[in-house]
């Protein structure tokens, strides 16, 4: 299998303009970037966030009246998976100091730091330890550590420019000031960052950066970080216990409103377990698997917004969820790889984005929302109608990866992007000589639970870190700041949760009263649906098969 003839013909057009484009790139002559004031009309007309009737106001809960995507509101306007009256909270199945919900980058970093600070930690996770968007993050991690040419000052400005200047200043301050120390921590744990011989970190540009501060481990930076910190937790078996395939479905509070643990659901035995904990850290990540506006997604199988749902029911407000990040470059063909992320690093390394005529139509290092909107405009029949039709009935544009070998030497693509090189080779496509077909894909939950710079929510003893939280990225996150976010805030959450446990001692009787109240509120708002949340896993099973799944009553766990 390789590109079909129809596409090979179109690739000839890309090849015909390539030499001149490479020459311009060498001379630093770039396609003109949009001015700040030119960005807005394109976003308004073509970014999916601005399409009418795709959002509605939430009718219940602490952020009632806030308009966000229908798919997310559906989850918030839903009932609990469990009947609170049936859950036995008096005899906990597990007791711990700190319960971490979610075992991606943020949860794992939090667990290590909480344990280092003297807390016994239990990690409960829906799939396996490390099954998370962190594992899939490719391009890099930002930190302003190049003394003499960069600083947290410029990192701060870049973050704000990407986020439309609406970011929470304290959170941005915390992230950029802690970034170098986060990198130093990862380096000390033995993360294989790409380095010069003298130990200096290699760095490059990402969309919206004014200095090269993207640190990387080839094109699998997130996987390298995730594998390393996961491995480190396994050196602390006395302090950190991991329970896999047991997602949390509700939090528990005590009579004073402090967080007191969580109810877990064992995906295999169908039991509900209660974990009594003195503090809880929510690190459940994002929500790409909600397929907002039916977009394909780069996200992990388990990215279903569980933490947002649970914490919202306890009264934690949400913000910045009105914007969703569409990564400009997801695979649109071949179908087997559909939705898979093509790291921004390809564009950072010099690859142009091209339409059906092999022509440039956008500067390839715009912030992600702007870049995505320009690509959608190019593909959309209501826009410019210059998309490349795929054999699967979609449109895409070319990402001209072969330019990278021409600019940086033969073999660069294979060496710097081994993950993607192997992926495409499986489909008979050599991306060091053939371009990739891409389209924006649902990538990141820009907003989430409100936290302060200690990762505290308004519920005492309840912390949140990473993609599940909102504010630091404002309305749009820049490349390389999500891995940074999970490490910086994961560590902070771990430290402060451990400190909270030391200072607050015993918790009171746990209860699920807030779940009862929430169910009543849903009913009082006249929401008459049978939906339950969190959804836990998407269902991609065949609808024709589902029609024959007729079980209504259960015998044992057979459904």
């Amino acid at each position: 299998m390789s590109y079909p003839e129809s596409l090979k013909k179109l690739i000839e057009k890309v090849e015909s303009t390539r030499a001149a484009r490479v020459e311009r790139k060498r001379k630093d002559i770039e396609f003109p970037a949009l001015k700040l004031e030119e960005r807005e009309p394109i976003l308004k007309n073509f970014h999916p966030d601005f399409i009418e009737n795709t959002r509605r106001k939430i009718k219940v809960g602490p952020s009632k009246g806030y308009a966000i995507s229908n798919e997310m509101v559906d989850l918030l306007e839903a009932r609990s998976r469990v009947n609170p009256d049936l859950v036995n909270l008096t005899e906990p199945d597990y007791e711990t100091d700190v319960l971490v919900i979610g075992a991606g980058g943020a949860g794992t970093a939090a667990a290590i730091l909480a344990a280092e600070n003297g807390a016994k930690v239990l990690i409960a996770t829906k799939l396996r330890h490390g099954d998370a968007n962190t594992m899939m993050a490719e391009g890099g991690i930002q930190a302003a550590d190049k003394v003499g040419k960069d600083s947290p000052y410029y990192h701060y400005l870049d973050v704000l420019g990407g986020g439309h200047f609406l970011n929470d200043p304290e959170l941005v301050y915390t992230m950029v000031q802690n970034a170098p120390d986060a990198l130093r921590w990862l380096e000390g744990l033995g993360t294989s960052f790409s380095k010069f011989e003298d130990g200096k970190m290699k760095t490059m540009h990402g969309g919206g950066t004014c200095r090269k501060r993207m640190h990387y481990a080839a094109d699998i930076t997130g996987a390298e970080i995730m594998k390393t910190i996961r491995d480190e937790t396994r050196n602390h078996l006395d302090m950190i216990t991991v329970i896999e395939f047991c997602p949390a479905v509700e939090l528990a509070l005590d009579s004073e409103g402090r967080c007191a643990g969580a109810v877990l659901y064992n995906l295999e035995t169908a039991e509900y377990h209660f974990v009594k904990a003195k503090a809880v850290i929510i690190a459940t990540g994002g929500s790409g698997r909600l397929h907002i506006q039916k977009f394909m997604t780069t996200n992990h199988y388990g990215a279903t917004a569980d933490g947002i749902v649970m914490a919202y029911r306890t009264g934690v407000p949400i913000s910045f969820l009105h914007t969703v990040q569409y990564h400009p470059t997801g695979v649109v063909f071949p179908e087997q790889a559909e939705g898979i992320l093509i790291t921004e690093k390809f564009r950072g390394a010099g690859a142009n984005v091209l339409n059906i005529h092999g022509e440039q139509f956008v500067y390839e290092r715009e912030p992600r929302d702007v870049e995505a909107a320009c690509i959608i405009r190019e593909c959309s029949p209501e826009g410019r109608g210059n998309g490349v039709p795929t054999p699967t009935g979609k449109y895409g544009v070319w990402l001209d990866s072969p330019m990278i070998d021409l600019l940086r030497g033969e073999g660069t693509v294979r060496k710097e992007f081994p993950g993607k090189h192997i992926l495409f080779r499986r489909f008979g496509i050599d991306i060091s000589t053939e371009p990739m077909l891409i389209h924006p894909t649902l990538h990141y939950q820009n907003g989430g639970l409100d936290i302060n710079s200690k990762c505290e929510t308004i519920v005492p003893g309840l912390y949140a870190a990473g993609e599940v939280s909102g504010g630091v990225h404002g309305e749009n996150r820049l490349m390389g700041n999500s891995l940074l976010d999970v490490i910086v805030f994961g560590r902070i959450a771990g430290i402060h949760a451990a400190e909270y446990v030391r200072n607050h001692g015993e918790i009171g009787e746990p209860n699920l009263d807030h779940v009862r109240r929430y169910n009543e509120e849903v009913e009082a708002a006249g929401i008459k649906v049978e939906r339950i949340a969190p959804m836990l896993l998407p269902d991609y099973s065949n609808p024709e098969v589902r029609e024959k799944q007729l079980t209504k009553d259960y015998f044992g766990t057979l459904s």
Binding site: K25, D28, L36, M135, A144, D145, K146, V147, G148, K149, S151, P152, Y153, Y154, Y156, L157, L160, G161, F165, Y173, V176, P180, D181, L183, R184, E187, G188, L189, S192, F193, D198, G199, K200, M201, C210, R211, A218, I220, A223, N235, H300, Y301, Q336, G339, I340, L341, G385, N386, G387, P389, P391, G393, P418, L423, R426, Y540, S541, N542, V545, R546
Partner: protein
Amino acid sequence: MTKPPEKLVDELVPIFFMGKKYEVPASLTIQKALEYAGYQHIRGCGCRGGVCGACGTVYRTPDSYKLQVGLACQTVVQPGMQLVIMHYYPGHRSIFDIDQMSGTGGELAALYPEIFKCIGCNSCSQGCPMDIDVMHYMAQAIRGDLAGVAETSFDCIMCGLCASRCPAEEVQFNVAILARRLNARYGKPRAKHLEDRVKEIENGKFEEPLRDLMSKSIDELKELYKSREGEPQFAEEDWTPQDTRYV
């Protein structure tokens, strides 16, 4: 604008998942084919993009006696294939304190002395869905070449298929990550600029400029944002900005 061609409807082919026959579209990956057959995956499904190691798959096709491997999310079905997804494989792992080590091959060998039992049969390499030359890095481990192991094993997704095939009962993927961690920590010097920058931040060097930024209006921030000096794409590592007040 030309209308894209109609999506082709696939022919159905039989596959045998743990012995049970399903008819599935010929172009689907194993993962999607099972969903087509009615499965909602719990185990054996992770990133769906070939990097997480959740869906290592062992299969045979009718035309060969040979055992083959792949990732369920990356491997397209073949007519008549028999397969199982290996959700999990038990693996022994040694505990270590990276701060107390010095990054030698001897340390690796002390933690995993069984590496010397490797018989060089190459089953591990044949069993790797990432096409990693596992036997080669085991040989590098035996020689104490940690940098070599790190480079050869870099793409390892820790799915465990190598260990499942090993007659010497090695746990190659845990040997590999230890070597990568030791090599990253001790194979090259620590980044001095990182340490220097952390000290500058601890000493409050950027406190005032940052607090000043935080107090500015959106319009003032926009002006500062627009006037940022950009490091050129192909600038050498020693490039420095003209405005050095905040660096």
